[in-house]
């Protein structure tokens, strides 16, 4: 049996943040889990994929995050305890489904995990901060700092959802999701004590967001949020600060930043009061006002955008007009925080002299870019493209997957890159605007995720890019999760059947190891007046046959 299923209360086991999220959901008796893989959230789905059956939990890799959330909404409407997990960009994809879900509210308690990636270690498109979207959607949002809190906050998230009938986001970041520590286990609910099967009971007033009802729902939501704010005022995940307030100084922080604050206090031998906020939305405003009431200065330590800082400035107007709020003037808005940055910011804040214990010596170490694996089928695709065309005279579209590495040395064929599935839609726009020759790459899982509507648009509105679908028969970059076209499935959905059904006439399926055939096809298709598609099919070297 896997250790994560160990049913021993009080036992300590080392868990990754993402595994602790799984454990928390199991302890709460989750029934239904859906996800689309994305770093840094992937291990949540991967763990459920491994243990779901033995834990009696339904699990699916959905085709994209919107579908994953919609599946979760259906399960919740049917009374099941539901978890949906994704990376930050996934929330953009499913925002359309999220907003009405916050209006209707959940029936079965529902927690949505969203993992941000400050510093973009595994995120090509933008440095996102999900907290902004929490405000847009008005969805209660909790921010754990470490794996123990990942487990505890997921459990609390389910409890809030159950009590207030509203979905709850638990927002992590890379350094929380991929942090390990010993976590104290609780009891896993036995499968007998959990709901076995959902039942959808007709309640149109609750589940149909049709005007004029939709505006009543909005009003009900605003009232609900104020009740949750009251709940958050009393909840212990917003800490009761200790430390000496005699200097008139205090610190407010949340998430991973809290851990750096505690290290910095230790390093500088300081004893300042720290208010740690477990709730990002709704904020416990009374608690914050009480905290800042008598201070001269408060340091706000948060990653990326100054959401807390702005709120604290607003609240200070009511209770302490002379309060100096120090935040982004002392800490960066771009990139994740580093513990040494927080030590230095705190030293400045308290006028303490501090020298980092580093050795002053400048080195120039060679930069090492990530590479396609040796033997990767994409090398053959790249080689064929190089042979077939003058790469200076053709535009190359990129998309999200291992083949993004086409944009790095030594390959360097990528002229634009945006979000999942966008390579095809943008290709169509460029073709319409310019008529220049264009080849765009899209992976198999990305094609299923969001490439298909753009392909249909290209056929419908008639432009002629050459689309090369890189079919390595797995979702490789995030850890080889299956997808609808993967042969591991009993009845895979063949990409060529979809492409053909969309009305594409120029279509070839080629194993890129057959270079001559591949080169000829590229040359031939680039001259076509209508859209053409090559499916480059060869499995990823890491797939178990």
């Amino acid at each position: 049996m896997e250790e994560i299923l160990l049913n021993k209360s009080r036992e300590k086991i080392i868990l990754l943040g993402n595994e602790a999220i799984v454990r928390g959901a199991l302890e709460e008796g989750v029934n239904f889990v859906s996800t689309y893989p994305g770093t840094p959230a992937s291990e949540i789905g991967d763990t459920f994929f491994r243990i779901g059956k033995s834990a009696g939990v339904y699990f699916e890799y959905s085709t994209n995050e919107k579908v994953a959330l919609e599946a979760g909404i259906g399960a919740s409407f049917s009374g099941l305890k539901t978890l949906v997990a994704m990376k930050d960009f996934g929330l953009n994809v499913c925002l359309d489904a999220l907003l009405p879900f916050v209006y209707t509210g959940s029936k079965g308690p529902t927690v949505i995990i969203v993992a941000d990636d400050p510093s973009c270690y595994s995120s090509a498109q933008s440095e996102e901060n999900t907290r902004g979207l929490s405000l847009v959607a008005r969805i209660p949002t909790l921010e754990p700092s470490d794996p123990q809190e990942c487990k505890d906050f997921v459990k609390l998230g389910f409890q809030i959802s159950e009590k207030f009938k509203i979905p709850v986001i638990v927002r992590t970041t890379t350094r929380v999701a991929h942090q390990r520590m010993p976590v104290i286990l609780g009891k896993i609910q036995s499968s007998k004590s959990r709901i076995q099967k959902g039942k959808f009971i007709k309640e149109p007033k609750r589940f149909v967001t049709l005007p004029p009802r939709v505006l009543e729902m909005k009003k009900e939501l605003l009232e609900k949020i104020e009740k949750i704010r009251e709940f958050s005022e009393k909840n212990k995940i917003n800490s009761t600060p200790r430390g000496s307030a005699s200097e008139g100084l205090g610190i407010i922080t949340s998430g991973i930043s809290y851990l750096y604050v505690m290290e910095a206090l230790k390093e500088l031998n300081l004893d300042l009061p720290v208010l740690k906020l477990g709730f990002f939305y709704p904020l416990p405003e009374k608690k914050i006002k009480n905290f800042i009431r008598s201070f001269k200065k408060v340091l706000v330590v948060e990653e990326l955008d100054p959401y807390l800082e702005r709120e604290i400035e607003r609240l200070a107007k009511d209770v302490n007009r002379n309060l100096k709020v120090v935040g982004k003037e002392s800490l960066p808005e771009v990139g994740e925080l580093k513990p040494e940055q927080v030590i230095l910011a705190l030293a400045r804040f308290t006028n303490k002299k501090y020298q980092l214990p580093t050795v002053k010596y400048q080195i120039r170490a060679p930069e090492r870019f990530p590479q396609l694996c040796p033997g990767c089928p994409y090398w053959f695709v790249f080689a064929a493209v190089k042979k077939a065309v003058d790469t200076k005279k053709v535009i190359f579209g990129g998309d999200i997957g291992c083949y993004m590495l086409f944009g790095l040395p030594p390959l360097n064929i990528q002229d634009y890159l945006s979000c999942m599935g966008s390579s095809v839609g943008i290709a169509h726009g460029i073709k319409k605007a310019t008529g220049q020759k264009l080849i765009t790459f899209i992976g198999d899982s990305t094609f299923f995720h969001s490439g298909i509507p753009a392909l249909i648009n290209t056929v419908f509105n008639k432009s002629n890019p050459l689309i090369i679908i890189l079919d390595n028969q797995t979702t490789a970059m995030t850890g080889h999760q299956p997808h609808p076209g993967a042969p591991q499935d009993n009845k895979p959905i063949k990409i060529e059947n979809i492409v053909r059904a969309c009305g594409v006439k120029n279509l070839k399926v080629i194993d890129p190891i057959n270079q001559k055939e591949f080169v000829t096809a590229i040359k031939e298709f680039l001259e076509k007046k209508e859209i053409s598609v090559i499916i480059a099919r060869r499995p990823c070297i890491w797939i178990k046959k």
């Binding site: 840094p40 991929h178 040494e340 580093t358 090492r368 870019f369 990530p370 590479q371």
Partner: protein, 194 residues
């Protein structure tokens, strides 16, 4: 171990696929056997594909941050020489460098020579030890895949990590899958005899 603050900070650096996360798991379990507080940090996904991989582990008392601060590493375990150079960001003049004498070339770049790297590392700390871990493992077992386990075991036998070798051994048995366990146990033994 910094006695005053009672914490120990380790960085393991190398290139993607050298087993940094496995070494991290072994160290974390070994520290848990000795009842320490532990925090680790690692990266997954695109950042792993043959690029630089740096993982952090901290244990002792009152451990909050999963990341080691600049200049605060007690031990830098280098699985590749050029990557060890980058980790000097975390070094102070007392940091121990235990480095695999092994270079993974970067395509289209002339690698720095072993001598150059050693010279630069010594500007940071006098305590730099180069070990032929990859060569020794290749010669003994026909594979250098266990070079990291060799270095880690050696660090515990040489008391460069304040964890008992027996805890490391117990952790290896817990973390390494059955199929590879014998090879790893042999590697541990080889480090003991070194």
């Amino acid at each position: 171990m910094d006695k005053k603050v009672n914490q120990f900070n380790i960085l393991i650096v190398g290139t993607g696929g050298q087993g940094q996360i496995t070494l991290l798991q072994i160290l974390a379990e070994a520290a848990l056997f000795e009842d320490k507080e532990i925090k680790t940090s690692e990266l997954h996904g695109l950042s792993q594909r043959g690029g630089s991989v740096e993982v952090h582990l901290r244990f002792g008392k009152e451990i909050y941050s999963p990341l080691v601060s600049q200049g605060k590493a007690d031990l830098i375990l280098g699985l590749e020489m050029q990557e060890s150079l980058k980790a000097s960001y975390f070094a102070n003049s007392k940091t121990n460098f235990l480095v695999n004498k092994y270079i993974v070339p970067i395509p289209f770049q002339k690698p720095l020579s072993e001598d150059e790297i050693l010279k630069i590392l010594k500007k940071f700390s006098k305590k730099v030890t180069l070990i032929e871990a990859a060569n020794i493992c290749q010669k003994e077992f026909g594979t250098s895949v266990v070079a990291g386990i060799y270095l880690l075991s050696l660090a515990s036998f040489k008391k460069l990590i304040p964890l008992k070798p027996v805890s490391i051994l117990k952790a290896i048995k817990k973390i390494i899958p059955e199929k590879y366990l014998e090879l790893n146990l042999k590697t541990f033994k080889l480090a003991r005899e070194a």
